[in-house]
Subunit: 591 residues, 2 copies
């Protein structure tokens, strides 16, 4: 029905007759002539209808925004002075010879120009088919398609097989709540939608497929705080006979290829690496944003003996932490700004935000300004100044509390300061975090929980620690962090049944429970399971970062709202009593 | 961990030290030497352990079937007389220098040799990770991965965007039963799993994406007669501004590319086409297997007046059909075989299977043999002989009943005869079936039903028939048939709201019901919907045909059983009362 896309026309087509199909972006009548900006997937082009040709001109007069047109016309150079350098096709225009109105349109309930993003998200989702017409959304989904294409090509070239795993399956143990699907043929029983294909991909390794990948839909019935969706997409990868160096090397290479081809960005080779403990120490986070050059510095040893319990108490607590965060030229911060940051760290449980302003260190204690100065000894002050390397004009923030609170609050503060004050260095900072502990102790429930998932292998040399000191046992897990966002996580898996049982027991999963929930995995491990490992990337997040979108909802065609509903189709919706009956279910009365 | 795959070694590696990883296919001790066939994804290779090297030899003695090994060794030419031409690596063997047992294995509950397919399907599915180790299953899933790669590449090259549509969505109107997913945040409401992305892909066209594809998971909660699965995979495609010629041409080209690259088969260019009515007339089916050269011939006009109600009654019934099927050299069929075919057509509701054996037509009526001969006039016999072109030695079968019964029974019989008697011509016979009616009349419920789905467009010139004669109104649908299996179906869709409403009304969907179920589609049609159409291919079936498998379960990694259960994970399974409570549900008491 067409010879070209609107947006691909240029001076190369001057003198050609073309046929175009698209939507009316706008119509202007000017000097007895009608100008129509016609839009398609590729871009916009200006069509001119002249009263010389009365038939198409008369039709052009009927045209409104978002009408669907088919236009035949002659590409010509725009007259001098009317060239539009803002527009890719701005050098030319099309003189309309024929016009067919393929469909009409009512006035759209959301604007399709640059103000569209101002419409409420509810409205944008209800009329998603209009919202998606905006070039911004077109570009994002176009880029998403390119990204998956490049990832697939890379994996294909490296011998990975694309294998589909079930959506209707058994509850998977990822910790979040499952979506359940009632079975009609087995009334009273339920399928679960997978939170990830974790166990299936391990089974595929046991089946000898050697290298597997899948762009897999995953499901979590969580409360949608933050930027979560009930269904999301994961690039899921597993390999046999490869260690963590092999997996990380290959995945780095894949991500570098992706950034080079999509964004023309050369990511570092190799990616930097940090151990979990160093990341927590220096950045208070296991997914630090390395674009922000601020770092936490431990000062507990300097303040153990000061007469200031806010510092001394956590400094003497084995689970406590006292850390300083030096902000170069932070002395310019106003009292009000400091108050706002104090509120900010309160979100993470910090009870306050101590600070020292360094006005003129040559004057010693007198050259500093701080409400806590009076509590600190000269030695402590000297130690802090030396260790943080503070200069005149700087500000030093302090965190002192349980280590978790200090890490979370100062870790978040350093990123916030970096963003607020424009301290970011470089656009893209990838990072591997490695040497994670196998377990974290949940003091409240007095038990060990898995830091990754229960199929993650301990380091070979740490196997003995499973018995003697589980908290010291490190795993073979690795997370890929980009600009402070975890975009991928994986590990070498346990491939020996006795190690798997030992880990289950440590996690308070009895042999009986293990058999009931993971019996098929334990059985499979007995029949010749190869050493294997893998990784999963959050595709939505990766696309969000690469397209500069602010939410994963902006890179999905039909996302759900924060209450897990779809304003477009009005799903979820009530069903007939007969359907429930077939499933052997009834609704509970509302409390 | 390795330098090569086992199955890729050959004379090119002679003299090289290699490292291999894989599974023990078998171990033989022969003349004081240990031979191990080591298997990986690519193939088998023979490893030899010599008592000269006591350490690896001692380890090799412990090895059992399905143990996982890492072997370092030297590739060498096999001695004369021991070359195995059956094996791709049969020219060489690897002299083992070092052996690491990466994992042990218990004796597998199913054999992994050629007898494995004899194990019950239940057992094969329970130990699917073992079943999948068999080269046959490896090859099928490998081919499946290649097929999707080639399809994706073709579509990428033709400007199609891969866009994901929701799995948690609203009930889709494909006629089958939906799988439901209870919502926790909206208690009493349910998502449905999509039977296809039909409405979303149409919305993507309205959103201006122009060319969409997705390898999409689809769900139907049906009773699993025949070769159906609760979840299956569809290659889903939609384009804007393209007519049926455009869609069919592009899709043909894609399928030809696929067959050329995967099977080195040149499919015809273009594919043959048949109208629905001609397909029914000549083959009694809208998905005829054109490899079978037998055809139905109408003879109602010849037997309208005979004194044989079995023929005369349907011949005079406007809904009846009387047809003949000539089987060349069918005179050799025994009485018993004919009885079996009579039983066979009974499955399709035929009350009998009349026939005439042509022994010696030169003798006229005397040269024929048939229980019904006495009822037929000379003219009728002459007419039948002429019209079927029967020769001496042939057999002519007859069907006489409602057209539906004749079509289904003789249609199935012609394929069965073709297969039984080895009459098939050519390996691959693709065919487009076009010019489908929009509607079929459901006499029982006295209403029109859509032959495809309610979004299929009528032919432009038939729009008037929607009012005057719906039964005569043809649609813009097209089905792609391969060897008698429908592998794809699609249509140009309705893009005008008033036509969509008219079709809904004809299908007995009131404006109110339409608003409730498809309100979002009707609304979307009002805001500038482009002309569009598409197609969906049953990927599982296509892969099944291309790999020569006998069931779609043989080309899926983890299929369900005929009762929609997974013997491996034991899904579906009971859930905790607390989970039901969260969803606002309770189980009904068993009746």
């Amino acid at each position: 029905m067409r010879t070209h896309y609107c947006g691909e026309l240029g001076s190369g087509q001057i003198g050609q007759e073309v046929v175009l199909c698209g939507w009316v972006q706008r119509r202007r009548d000017h000097g007895g002539v009608i100008f129509i900006d016609l839009r398609d997937r590729v871009g916009l082009v200006q069509i001119v209808f002249d009263p010389d040709r009365p038939e198409p001109f008369a039709r052009a007069e009927q045209v409104r925004s978002e009408y669907v047109l088919r236009v035949k016309g002659l590409v010509r150079q725009r007259p001098d002075g009317t060239i539009n350098p803002e527009l890719a096709t701005g050098e030319i225009e099309v003189l309309g010879h024929a016009l067919e109105i393929l469909n009409t349109a009512e006035t759209p309930p959301i604007h399709l120009d640059s103000h569209a993003a101002d419409a409420s998200e509810e409205l944008r989702l209800r009329y998603r088919y209009l919202d998606l017409r905006r070039p911004e959304m077109q570009t994002r989904l176009h880029t998403r398609s390119r990204i998956t294409r490049i990832l697939r090509r890379f994996l294909d070239e490296h011998g990975f097989l694309d294998i589909e795993t079930p959506i209707l399956t058994k509850s998977t143990p990822e910790g979040a709540r499952d979506y359940l699907v009632p079975s009609r043929t087995h009334q009273g029983s339920f399928f679960a939608l997978p939170q990830s294909p974790q166990l299936f991909k391990q089974l595929l390794m046991m089946a000898g497929f050697d290298r597997y990948y899948q762009i897999a839909r995953c499901f979590r019935d969580e409360d949608l705080r933050a930027d979560r969706q009930p269904e999301f997409t994961q690039l899921d990868i597993e390999v046999s006979f490869m260690d963590e160096e092999g997996v990380m090397g290959l995945m780095e290479s894949m991500i570098r290829t992706l950034f080079r081809e999509v964004l023309e960005i050369a990511l570092p080779d190799p990616f930097p690496r940090l151990s979990y403990s160093e990341a927590m120490q220096r950045f208070g986070s296991d997914r630090p944003d390395l674009r922000v050059p601020l770092e936490l510095v431990d000062i507990a040893d300097l303040v153990k003996a000061v007469d200031f319990q806010v510092f001394a108490s956590p400094a003497n607590d084995p689970e406590g932490r006292v850390a300083a965060l030096r902000l170069p030229r932070g002395g310019e911060l106003s009292r009000k700004e400091i108050d706002q940051y104090t509120q900010f760290v309160g979100i993470y449980g910090a009870k306050g935000l101590a600070y020292i302003k360094v006005n003129d260190w040559a004057k010693g204690r007198e050259g500093l300004q701080s409400p806590i100065l009076k509590f600190l000894t000269d030695d402590a002050i000297q130690g802090i100044m030396t260790r943080t390397g503070a200069q005149d004009g700087d500000l030093i923030f302090f965190g002192a509390d349980k280590a978790r609170v200090v890490n979370e609050s100062l870790g978040a503060l350093r990123v916030k300061l970096g963003h607020d004050l424009g301290l970011r260095q470089g656009d893209w900072q990838p990072l591997w975090v490695v040497d994670f502990p196998m377990f974290e102790y949940d003091a409240e429930h007095r038990r060990w929980v898995a830091l990754h998932h229960p199929f993650t292998s301990p380091k070979e040399t740490h196997l003995g620690l499973l018995e003697t000191d589980p908290g010291a046992c490190l795993s073979r897990a690795y997370d890929l962090v980009l600009n402070g966002t975890e975009i991928g996580g994986g590990s070498i898996r346990i491939h020996r049944p006795e190690v798997q049982r030992q880990v289950f027991r440590l996690l308070n999963i009895s042999d009986e429970q293990a058999e009931e929930r993971f019996g098929f995995l334990l059985r499979a491990l007995r029949y010749g399971c190869p050493p294997h490992g893998g990784i999963a990337f959050g595709l939505d997040r990766l696309v969000m970062l690469m397209t500069g979108a602010h939410s994963i909802r902006e890179v999905m065609a039909f996302p759900k709202t924060q209450t897990a509903a779809c304003p477009l189709t009005e799903a979820p919706s009530p069903v007939d009593e007969s359907q429930l009956k077939e499933l052997g279910l009834r609704l509970r009365a509302r409390p």
